[in-house]
Structure formats: C-alpha cells, structure tokens
Symmetry: C2
Subunit: 470 residues, 2 copies
C-alpha cells in the first residue's frame, strides 16, 4: 500500500469514524443475526490477490458492521460500560502507527516511562496510598491471575515456581465472596490451587462479603493444617456493585499474613470522586488492587490498572531474562515484560495519558458524578413504580431491579416474567440491558455509564421498560 493511498483511505476512515459517532444512536444496538449468518456470508478461503481498500470498506460496511453490537450506542446499559472515547481513539491511531513493542525499557523508553508516570497519576486520582506501584495489564482476569500467582509464590516462599505445586506439602486455600467475578474461580483453577480450595464466603443483605464469615472460614482451614494464601475482595461486584468492606477484611488478612487482592474492575473509577472514596476505605491493607480505566474511565479497551505493594514478589514470580533480552540498562529501569504474563506489550500508556489530559481530572469527575446521579434517578423511578422492586443498593452507576412477584406467583414464575420483560425490551434494539441472578432471583441490570449516554437516553430507556410491562 502506497503512502498516498494510506493517506487517502485514512481520511476516509476518519470521516467514517466521526459519522459513526454521530449516527450510532440511529443504528439498532444489537444485530438481527443468527449464529452462522455472518460466517456463511464470507468466503471459506482467503483471497489470493490483493483487494483495493475501497472494496474492503464496502465489505466492512456490508458484511461486518450489520453483525456488530454497538457498545458505543447511548442506549447501551448491559454488562458494564466499555468505553471507547474520541480522545482515546486518537491515541489508538498513534499507537497503531508507531507499532512499538513495550516489553523492555530499551525497546521503547518513552512508553515504559509514560506507563510509570500515568500509573502514578492514577494512584493519585484514586487516592491510593503511597507504596502502591502500578503496571498496565490487559484485563482484570489477567490481573487477578497475576495476583493469585504472586500470592501462591509468596505463600510457598517462592517454592512453587521452583519445585512445582506438587512439591509443596501444605495445601493452600483462597477466599472470596459468593458474588465474586467468574475470573476468580478461573484464576484459582489456572494457578493450580484447584477449585476445591476456593472458599465462597457468605454475604450480608447488600451482597457484600461478611468479614465474620471470612474469619470463621480461615480459622477452620488453619485448624485443618491448611495455609490460607489469598483473599479476593470485590469493590463493586458484577452482579450488583456490592462493596466488600475492605477495612475489616484487610485487618483479618493482616493478622493472618494473607495476601489481599482487591478487584475494583468497574467501581475503581468512582474513587476519583472524593464523595465515593468510602468504597475503598481500608485499601491500604491490600497487597494488590486492580481497576479498569477501559470500563468507566473512557480509555479504550484494553487497559487494566494493576497496583502492587511488593514489586519484588511480583518480579520474582514473573521475571524472565534470557540473553537475547538483556540490555545495559536493566539494573536502572523497569522492564514491564517482568511484571506480568506477556512478553510483548502494546503502547497502552499513550491512550491513558491522552484521555487524562484530554478530559482533565475535573472533566472525568463530572462524567462519573453525573452517571451516579442518573442511576439514583432510575432507582427513584423504580421505587415509585409499585410493579417494580429494587434488588440491591445503588452506590454507583448500576441499578438492579425486577418486576415484583404478583399475588400467588412463585419464584420460577416471577423469574420467567422478568426474563420475558428483558427479552421484549432488548428486542426493540433501541436499548440493551443484561441480567444477573441475586440469591437465585432473576434480576435486570441497568448499567449507566456509556460515554454517549445522556440523561434523555436514561429517561427514554426507563419509559420503554415501564411501557413494556404486560
């Protein structure tokens, strides 16, 4: 591809991107396709000859775009937001053009140092205590696995990596709440603890971990000769944004010498608001902490901010320095390849830097504050409509609700009626909401925080839901 052709196509694409941002609201938010539809529309074998960019653009618009769910649609209230903001898109363009490998300081000095600087900025923005050092991971799933691996090594005196877990006699155990994210279970399996070693701690009425139940479980395991290795507390569960109480949990961990990992994937962003910092009260007890600027903080996926206290433990678990990667500067610099699973790394700090500068801390605060206020409004509407009930507290941007059980209706029937309501609402393709189960009860989740969402979209979405009840 000639540079002039790239320039021409690039300008065309920028116009497409800007038009998409402008018009996405008018697209159906989810596609009307069945499994296999798109696959069948594409050739079974790759083209032998080059195709002109014009044809690629056409094929994209004709074959791919109609099969996409539009995560940037203002009616997107499903899962948690995964925000691609215009400033972040600009930074992604530069990252793509540079194509820099950020595995070592040597291979991209500015990328390494910008990552150090922006992670320190984030630490300050969330008011995390000094002593936390940050590194960008791709996702919280990875960060949680990284935490569980580091905790495994610390709990075994770094023997597991050498002798293997099979060479470690006393069994390790892991603790988390019944409402933890699925990535905790996955990390427990992958890190070799085994799912039988995972203790699911009971919840209080707000779906948060009960510290007394945690203490009990730990005591019981210690009495059995087991070694409690790590507790994963959640700040803002995926189900209902329940806030595990970090202070009492942290005190328990400190007392028993247990690694405390805090998963604040979605909720962490809210801690840039002084009035929401209570959600992290006690975070100074944590050994590791993760939140995703790529969710609510307007940074394009992927960008997961992982903070640790004991950098040495992290490096002892993850470093690898073969001859072909050694450089003269290794003693003085951070080589982020040694801070996680992957060797190769994209220049992700650039979009983080770009977004923080482009909005400013105050700009980001205004957006998050507004989203939380809108969620409170929805919670008020739910409370005011006797057909509905709130299913959980609304500390942040997520509202959990359902249709109340009617006289004589059993749990299965009310679940089914809510499932049908959600299906009908989503079938309009004007909004997209998702669901969870809280205590076995089917619950509709409305997560407010998509970048393009304005208050009118929230109002219209609720009006649609309320009007869809049969």
């Amino acid at each position: 591809m000639e540079i002039n052709e790239f320039r021409r196509a690039g300008h065309e694409l920028v116009d497409w991107m800007a038009d998409y941002l402008k018009d996405v609201e008018r697209l159906p938010i989810t596609p009307d396709v069945k499994p296999g539809d798109i696959r069948r529309s594409l050739p079974a074998s790759p083209p032998q000859a080059a195709e002109p960019t014009e044809q690629l653009m056409n094929d994209f618009g004709r074959l791919i775009l109609p099969g996409m769910t539009h995560w940037g649609h203002p009616g997107f209230f499903a899962y948690f937001p995964s925000n691609a903001s215009p400033p972040s898109m600009l930074a992604e363009m530069l990252t793509a053009a540079l194509g820099a490998q950020c595995m070592s300081w040597q291979t991209s000095p500015a990328a390494t140092e910008l990552e150090q600087v922006t992670m320190e900025w984030l630490r300050q923005m969330l008011a995390l205590p000094e002593g936390f050092t940050g590194v960008i991971q791709d996702t919280s799933s990875t960060a949680t696995l990284v935490a569980l691996l580091t905790a495994r090594e610390r709990a075994t005196g770094f023997a597991a990596a050498i002798h293997g877990l099979q060479g470690v006699e006393r069994r390790l155990t892991v603790y988390t709440s019944r409402e933890r994210h699925s990535s905790v279970d996955k990390a427990v399996r992958l890190a070799g603890y085994g799912i039988e070693s995972l203790r699911l701690i009971d919840l209080d009425d707000a779906y948060a971990m009960r510290p007394d139940a945690l203490e009990q479980a730990i005591q019981a395991d210690i009495a059995q000769g087991l070694v409690p290795a790590v507790v994963v507390a959640t700040t803002g569960t995926t189900g209902s944004t329940a806030i595990d109480p970090l202070r009492p949990i942290g005190e328990i961990c400190r007392r028993h010498g247990i690694w405390l990992h805090v998963d604040a994937s979605y909720a962490g962003t809210a801690a840039i608001l002084p009035e929401k910092r209570w959600i992290l009260d006690g975070v100074e007890f944590a050994d590791s902490f993760v939140f995703n600027p790529h969710k609510w903080m307007l940074v394009n996926f992927d960008c997961s901010a992982y903070f640790v206290k004991d950098v040495d433990a992290l490096l002892r678990t993850f470093s690898a320095s073969p001859e072909y990667l050694r450089t003269a500067h290794d003693a003085e610099v951070a080589n982020f390849r040694d801070w996680g699973i992957q060797l190769g790394r994209r220049f992700r700090a650039l979009k983080l830097w770009w977004v923080i500068k482009s909005y400013g801390v105050e700009g980001l605060q205004a957006i998050i504050r507004r989203n939380c206020e809108w969620a409170e409004s929805v919670a008020g509407w739910v409370r005011a409509d006797s057909r509905f009930e709130l299913m959980a507290p609304v500390p942040l941007g997520l509202v959990c609700f359902r249709l109340r059980a009617r006289e004589g209706e059993d749990e299965a029937e009310v679940n089914e009626r809510n499932r049908e309501l959600l299906a009908r609402v989503n079938a309009t393709r004007q909004v997209y909401l998702s669901h969870t189960a809280l205590d076995g009860r089917y619950t509709i989740r409305m997560a407010i925080g998509a970048r393009a969402t304005e208050f009118r979209h929230v109002r219209e979405a609720w009006a649609l839901i309320a009007a869809t009840v049969e």
Copy 2:
C-alpha cells in the same frame, strides 16, 4: 470532545501517520535518552483541567516521540520484526471506533464469526491439517501458557483444576530444547509444574532439539514414576531460527501420549510459502500450535494465532459461565472468553481480515519470499568476508554472525570484540540489531523482515557493519 473536533483532530493525525511512515527512515532509530529522562520531563501529577488536542499533539511530538524506538524504521533488524502495516493501521482505527467487546458471540456476533473465518483462512494459508481450530490470543507467551495449562489438565484427567496440583500425586514433567523461548520457562513456573520439572533437551549442530535425547529424557522420567505431560517444540528459535524436527518429536509424543505444543511464533508465517513448508513437516502430530501474524505477517500487534485439535480440552480448562454472561445462543456458538485467560477481548480479527484481503495471499508470499532471499544474500556476504563467520544456518529471515576469533584470542575476548562492534553499529542510530548467545558465544542477530525494509537498506546495513570493524 465534540465530534467536529474529533473529525478535525483525526484528519490531522492521519496526516501525521502518513508523514511518519514516509519520514521514519530519517529519524534516529533508537532514542538518545537515559533512564529517567522522559519521566522527569512529565508532570508528577495529572492535570485537573482539560487540555486542548493541539497541546496534546505538541506534547506527544515534543516529549514522547523523541523517546521512542522506531520499530517501523527500515533499519530495524533487532529481535524479530513486529510489523505495523498501513492496512493494519486502518483496521485498528475501525476497531478503536467500534470499541466492541468480543468476549461472547452475543456481545459481538460479527467479531466472533470473523475470528472463526480468518483463523480458518490462516490454517489453509499455512497448510495446517484439518482438525486444527483457531482462536486469537494476545501473545505467544500467553498461548504457550494456555497450552501448558491445557496439557496439565489433560495429563491429570482434569483433576488439577478441581483438586489443585497439590492433590495430584504423580509428578508431571515438561520437555523443551535448550534454545526454547523464555516464555516456556515462565509458563512452566506459572502453571505450577515448577522449573525443576522442566527438562532442557540437548541440541544438534544446528541448535535444534535432538529427538533421541528427548526420548531418553522421557524414558528416564517414566522409569522414575513421573508423568511426562507436554513437549514444547520450537519452529524457528529466537536465538537462531533453528527448526526442531516435528516428525520424530511428534512420533515420540504420540507413542507416550504426551501433549505436543509447537511454538512457531516468528517462523510460522514462512509456511505460507510452499517452498518453506518443510519447517512444519510433522505438524499433524501437534496438539497445539502458535504463530504470530503480528510479527512477520504485517498484522499490528497483538494478534497471536493459536490452533488446537482438542477444543473440548481447551474449553474444560478455560470456560467460565456465570449467570450474568449466559445467553440463549450459548449452545450453538463459540464464546471466545472460554478459549483463553482473558474475559474481555478486542476485535482483533478485523485487522487480520483487513491485512489478508489488502495484500492477498500472493502479496504476503512475495514479501516473505523476498525477506528470505535477502537473508540469504547477507549470509553470502558474511561467508565472503573472512573477518566474519556465520553462526547458524539461515533457513528464514534471520542471519546470525560474528567476528571470527583472531589468532590467540580467547572466547571472552572475541565475545567482547563482537559486543563492541554491535554497540558501535547501533550507536549510529541508523540501524538497530540485537544479539544472542549460541553455545556461550556472543552472536549478532540481523533479522530481516521490517515492513519498510528494502534491499538497499539491507545492503547499507551490511556495508555499515563491515566498515565499523576496527
């Protein structure tokens, strides 16, 4: 940021990108910075107020760009190529704009199905046997960890994930060559095998794994009551692109029921050339196979192509299906969150599709073929210059060479003289080469395959090297 401001800034950035592609050749390939220089030039705290895009562009050009190593520079011969091609940059722009989450079919149907289609295209392009199913991972490090975890589960009858590795009695062992990539050692440690369980198999004269030595090591372990779980063979080692002989290795694995993982991170791309397919002879014995389109195949990082035969084993190891991720289509579709470590996933298939269509298979073949021919030319120049010696065969795009020992010079002295030569060549900042150690001998690596490199750059680089010898 208003859409019009985004449009204006986007156009400006496209011009910057095109100019960068045009002018990168004139920039110093590596930056003249010391550890800490860039960090000190940036504010210690984040800006409270928003900054205009103009200022961001200025700061990028003034503070960040001068600190970058230019991986797209035509004089880039270090490590392995990590190619950001113009068509791939265009696709990255669309991926950034869509901001789609590709964890489940439901969350982006077209992304999931395009991933299935393009991975099948790659299978055909490399002439991998039918029966291999593909999924995009971020890096080979991750793919190798995924392979070692799946192999661990298969070897323990999927008991490790349930009872923990500590609940599995018979010790597992892993085999790879002395020239394997560092990510194998890392995965052995992370997956809980323990580095003591890793057997480093001896090499033949071309730095490839000796199957007889492998068989011996396996027999010895079996005699000890250990359970050989996985062999990692390398097609194209990082040190010297040595090609482990897959057929005899695969026959050994088949005989003993051992998982065979093939790491073809760099070299795999060469298998799109019929005349290079011998490098994968015997790949039908593999259980898993990985290569990186993001290295030599012009797809922007990250895009690692991971193929497996036993999809069920992969899913049993990695699937996680909590209520909030369940959808009506789960039985009929691929949910790629269950095919690896991460839950969240970028729309990476788009750039793969875009690159294959934009170059066509023939276009990609022409580029790879040319790179291999240029490497042969360099090998010829090395042979023709009595001051130098080739250190390894040149089957692909990498040339390993060094200055010969002079009369009476010992190994340490000749190593030092080569280290100095490489330092002086790289200090010109016109080219960038890296090094390795082969049998303890310091070896200069010249990897040909950066997208912008033309034959004249190869000739000039060699002339520079030859003229720099003291």
